[in-house]
């Protein structure tokens, strides 16, 4: 028979039909099934009794409520808590993957250890806690005895206001070292901005949920800014399926088509670092139209109109300055944004019922710029959006009890008189509490490290600092480094001694005021599972350590353990009154509620409140939106200051140059834009590099749960290489195609990445994701991609001194 197509088909079909009627294939399939069921190498998770434990996620400053499903004593799933004020049920991907940070032995330290291999090799040997305490206490005591307590330093990544950070700071005070260094974050920029313009040392509080027009200058609303659980929940609310019901408009100001920029109602793309100019351009349009909130400006602000100081000197006001320097045409030259866009945007902002302009830079992990914050805040003041519902609120700090006074010994008093290594708080950095870049610099510059013993808490500065690797170099020079990290991160790998903390699911910890939230909030997490390894809550370790050092240091820590301290501080919440420890979904915390006179707080004694606080993990005060004006602003003028007298005073004490301010005279005390300086040569380095953050990749000291790598597209990470996003036009200029391997070179270093052609990248800018390029941790994270921080060349931000990490000059060289 000749095989034609026709009889071929007939044969096949006939054959198939034949097979269908015999029982053989079915029997065979069944056998296969039974055989596969007996494969021994597939894990069979043991079952047991199911339970749910409520706690709080502490992986970012967001403070989402979580509920952890347990089977016997194993935690098997993390979920968001719908009965929690911050996140209302959802959480972010990092929090969702949290169990992979708990149950991964090669990611963690399983007990106290000392280094045996080379620094950075990650080779450690188990020791006992007693030995660990003996080593560290001995070292600190010896330095104190020799009269050098200032050679002890601490780098603390815990958020300001938390009990852990309060204890660490206290330890440094008791020991007698001024070198307590915190990592700069967006919260510091907020704090400083609030001090210079409002005289309030308080967190920023944006009433987003009640606003109908959110003008976001750089906040990665969908990239993890603020309290991500809260912001994304608000995002969902803003985007009702029925567009007629959408009351809130979102405008994103950012140079790259991030998720936020893409999903916003309008995306405005100024050049990186020119946000201040854009904000002032909008202010110009509003002032020129005469439609600003004249009442607010007249009653509650200082420095708007021209004025005269007591010594008779005339000063130009904010109005004059803005009208002179920031017309849409002028601003367009700086920012690249079309003048008509500015005019339209300013009108929309002004006409909205409850607009708010918010300031940020990606997530919260990195600092912003003070003058940019001031420009955005000036826009709020101009339109009377401060201390108004849906605007910027000015709540009081959380009434936690301060830790009790303690006596220092002579060694400590002498030590504390020594200057800080980072020069924070000096005339050059008057408002800055600590400056880790100066700290690293001081060590790198001296032939012998002035710091003998460095303790690192909840931080991984060797990876997270945008400093071109400066901190890493400093680490190598410090004779003795102690890490309290639960994870085998880059900094811990450089340490000589490890006193591992528990992970967030194994310990009590507190969460003070998630970034940007508009009402006072205090969260308390509790151990979901018992520590699975020989690790201890870092708060307990600090107390133990102080006791091991003994003398006045030991007596400064009269507590049994960390929990006592937390409780003692929380007593302040009870004494202040008015807080709630349970949450009713029907009354979201951001909805203005009129507390009636007879309202009971839901507890009748402090012990009762403490019990409920531990069980529920939350304390908050419902939103009290607008507060009485008198005494609200604690500036020298008692008003909101367009012209900051505190900056003026700082300039009097030092000079504008010492403060690194580019402009002179009145402008220096007000929001302004100045072209950032860079020592790099533009012709050698024609492009600039901007690190960017993503919500589905952890970029701070917490490692990414490996689950997250499933969510990353293969245009961000492919095998061992990460990608740099560049505009196709820019790539064409250098003859680069999708996937080409390039060296991104800056004056301080080079990293290799593949090119991703992305239309949403601003031309001439190279965008690199932060969070790749680990050398620590385990096979899931190690050696994947590169860390752009390693090539950042950052100048210092005027006044604050924080790194200007968004302006590194680079060039691309094809490999």
């Amino acid at each position: 028979m000749k095989l034609t197509r026709r009889n071929f088909i007939a044969t096949v079909v006939g054959g198939v039909a034949g097979i269908q009627v015999t029982p053989l294939p079915w029997k065979f399939t069944d056998d296969v099934a039974i055989w596969t069921q007996n494969w021994p190498w597939v894990p069979v998770p043991p079952t047991g009794e199911f339970s749910e434990v409520s706690s709080v996620c502490n992986l970012c400053p967001g403070g989402c409520g979580i509920s952890v499903r347990k089977v016997d004593n194993r935690a098997v799933k993390i979920e968001g808590r719908p009965d929690y004020p911050v996140n209302a049920g959802g959480i972010c991907p990092v929090g969702m993957g949290g169990l992979q940070l708990l149950y991964n032995e090669s990611l963690r330290f399983t007990g106290p250890m000392k280094r045996v291999g080379m620094r950075g090799s990650g080779e450690f040997q188990n020791i006992s806690w007693d030995d660990a305490f003996r080593i560290i206490a001995g070292r600190i005591s010896a330095l104190r005895k020799s009269g050098r307590p200032e050679a002890i330093a601490a780098v603390d990544g815990n958020r300001e206001g938390t009990t852990a950070s309060a204890l660490i700071e206290r330890l440094m005070q008791a020991v007698g070292s001024p070198n307590y260094v915190r990592l700069p974050s967006l919260s510091d920029t907020y704090r400083m901005g609030n001090i210079v313009m409002e005289g309030r040392d308080a967190p920023v509080a944006y009433d987003l949920e009640n606003s109908d027009f959110v003008l976001s200058f750089g906040c990665g609303l969908l990239e993890g800014w603020g309290a991500p659980g809260r912001v994304m929940n608000a995002w969902g609310m803003w985007h009702d399926a029925n567009p007629a019901k959408r009351k809130t408009h979102i405008v994103q100001v950012e140079s790259r088509a991030s998720n936020t920029a893409s999903k916003a109602d309008l995306w405005v793309a100024p050049r990186p670092g020119t946000d201040a100019a854009l904000a002032l351009g909008l202010a110009h349009v509003i002032i020129r139209s005469g439609k600003y909130d004249a009442g607010f400006v007249a009653e509650h602000t200082f420095g708007f109109e021209d004025w005269q100081s007591t010594d008779g000197r005339p000063h130009s006001g904010f109005k004059t300055l803005v009208l002179k320097n920031y017309s849409p045409e002028q601003v367009s030259k700086i920012t690249g944004v079309r003048p008509d866009v500015m005019v339209k945007l300013a009108a929309a902002f002004r006409l909205a019922k409850a607009p708010v302009a918010i300031y940020g830079k990606g997530k919260n992990d990195l600092n912003g710029s003070l003058y940019e914050f001031m420009a955005v805040q000036s826009l709020n003041a101009l339109t009377g959006r401060i201390n108004r519902p849906g605007g910027v609120l000015l709540p009081d700090p959380i009434p936690l009890n301060p830790l009790p006074y303690f006596e220092r010994d002579d060694i400590a008093s002498q030590g504390l008189k020594k200057p800080r290594l980072d020069r924070g708080g000096t005339q050059e950095y008057p408002f800055t509490q600590s400056l880790i870049s100066n700290f690293a610099d001081a060590i790198n510059r001296s032939p012998k490290s002035p710091i003998d013993t460095l303790m690192v808490f909840s931080a991984n500065p060797a990876f997270t600092l945008p400093d071109g690797g400066a901190f890493k170099n400093a680490l190598a020079k410090i004779p003795f480094v102690v890490s309290f990290s639960p994870y085998r991160d880059e900094t811990a790998n450089m340490a000589d001694l490890i006193l591992p903390d528990c992970t967030y699911l194994e310990k009590m910890d507190d969460m003070v005021w998630p970034v940007g939230l508009q009402y006072p909030f205090y969260g308390l997490s509790k151990p979901v599972v018992k520590p699975i390894y020989d690790t201890r809550n870092c708060g307990d370790t600090v107390i133990e350590m102080a006791k091991a050092i003994g003398e006045s240091v030991g007596s400064a820590f009269p507590w049994e353990g960390f929990e006592d301290v937390v409780k003692e501080r929380a007593k302040g919440l009870y004494d202040a009154g008015g807080g709630r420890v349970s949450f009713d979904r029907a009354a979201p915390a951001w909805k203005p509620q009129n507390p009636k006179a007879g309202d009971k707080p839901g507890y009748n004694s402090f012990d009762d409140m403490w019990k409920k606080l531990m069980a529920g993990g939350l304390w908050y005060r419902p939103l009290d939106q607008a507060r009485e004006w008198p005494w609200l602003f604690k500036t020298p003028s008692g008003q909101f200051e367009f012209y900051s007298q505190l900056i003026d005073q700082a300039i009097q004490r030092a000079s504008a140059k010492d403060l690194r301010i580019a402009v002179r005279d009145d402008a220096a005390c007000m929001a302004h834009y100045a072209t950032p300086t860079s020592t790099a040569n533009r012709s050698d380095y024609p492009l600039s590099m901007m690190p960017y953050e993503m919500i589905n990749l952890a970029s701070g000291w917490i490692p990414s749960p490996p689950f997250l790598y499933k969510t990353l597209p293969d245009t961000q990470l492919l095998k061992e290489t990460s990608f740099a996003a560049v505009n196709p036009k820019t790539a064409a200029k250098y003859g680069l195609k999708q996937g080409d391997l390039v060296a991104v070179q800056s004056p301080v270093g080079e990293v290799q990445a593949r090119i991703d052609l992305f239309g949403g990248a601003m031309p001439d800018i190279v965008y690199m994701p932060v969070g790749f390029g680990h050398t620590g941790y385990d096979e899931f994270l190690k050696g994947k991609g590169v860390n752009p921080n390693a090539i950042v060349q950052a100048e210092q931000d005027p006044v604050t001194g924080y790194p200007v990490w968004w302006n590194t000059r680079v060039k691309l060289v094809k490999v």
Binding site: Q37, G89, P228, W235, M237, F707, G760
Partner: protein, 278 residues
């Protein structure tokens, strides 16, 4: 569907509506799904042809030049195609079936012989083959977070989204224990739905007019992926942006009909909204 199940008695038809305006592209749904369903995580997750993601985020862009570029995301679970799911028709081992009582397309790993016909047949790429055993290396202790509610898979079988079927079982046992016949809307919700921080995913019974999903599917912005090949997905999407809706199917030039002036619950809106006109 109504007619086919249980001799004419209308059953459940579980489905999902994902609002792409709300979707932030965060990927929590993907992580939640993997964590809930014991999905294996290997050291290299960048080989997208091998990596297992029952729920997968597809990143799309509108292809415009700077500064008009936009990105968006399609979170894609299994579509649980109705009537004749392509994967079910080709399965030689009856390892995957459409359950007429629930509308869920199941996958029975122990029956699966790993021929991967279904994977080839699925137009949505929702099926994944286990090239290796589940990755839980000794000494790491990663297997300690595994949930006993879902069996981990072995090398050589295909797996996919089950609409978190074990959660339906859980809800059923609960109802049985409490002597109820019916399961309420909030008692059976999938892991991805619950996890989404923006509330972008709505899950429920498409046959129950009281459930949110039944209402949302009537919205003019609602569409399905590759709707015209007739797979009748039970996963719906919504977007107010034309370019996003357009990418839901392969349209010939001029074939796509933008949603203009359609009214939904008449009085509420009647203009074309979205970013283009802001």
């Amino acid at each position: 569907m109504k007619k086919e199940n249980d001799h004419g008695k209308p059953g459940h038809k579980y489905g999902m509506v994902i609002n792409l305006d709300k979707c932030t592209g965060c990927g929590t749904c993907m992580v939640a799904c993997a964590a809930e369903n014991n999905v294996s995580v290997r050291p290299d997750q960048s080989d997208k042809e091998r990596v297992i993601t029952w729920m997968r985020l597809y990143r799309i862009t509108n292809g415009k030049e700077f500064p008009d570029t936009e990105v968006s995301y399609f979170p894609r679970p299994c579509m649980h195609c109705d009537h004749h799911p392509p994967c079910v028709s080709v399965c030689v081992a009856t390892a995957t079936k459409l359950d007429f009582h629930t509308g869920i397309v199941s996958q029975i790993y122990t029956r699966c012989i790993g021929c991967r016909y279904c994977q080839a047949a699925c137009p949505y790429g929702a099926r994944y083959f286990n090239w290796w055993d589940a990755y839980f290396p000794k000494g790491k202790g990663l297997d300690r977070y595994l949930s006993p509610e879902v069996s981990p898979r072995m090398r050589g079988v295909v797996e996919k989204c089950t609409f978190c079927h074990h959660r339906l079982m859980r809800a059923k046992s609960q109802a049985y224990a409490e002597d109820r016949r019916e399961i309420e809307e909030d008692q059976y919700q999938t892991a991805c739905t619950e996890a989404c921080p923006a509330g972008a995913i709505t899950f429920g019974d498409l046959n129950n007019p009281e459930h949110q999903v039944s209402k949302l599917t009537k919205h003019p912005f609602t569409f399905r992926l590759l709707e015209r090949i007739g797979t009748e997905p039970k996963v719906y999407y919504q977007s107010s942006r034309d370019w996003v809706r357009k990418l839901g199917d392969n349209f010939l030039p001029g074939e796509y009909q933008p949603v203009v002036n359609k009214t939904w619950m008449k009085e509420e809106w009647s203009t074309k909204p979205g970013r283009d006109t802001f």
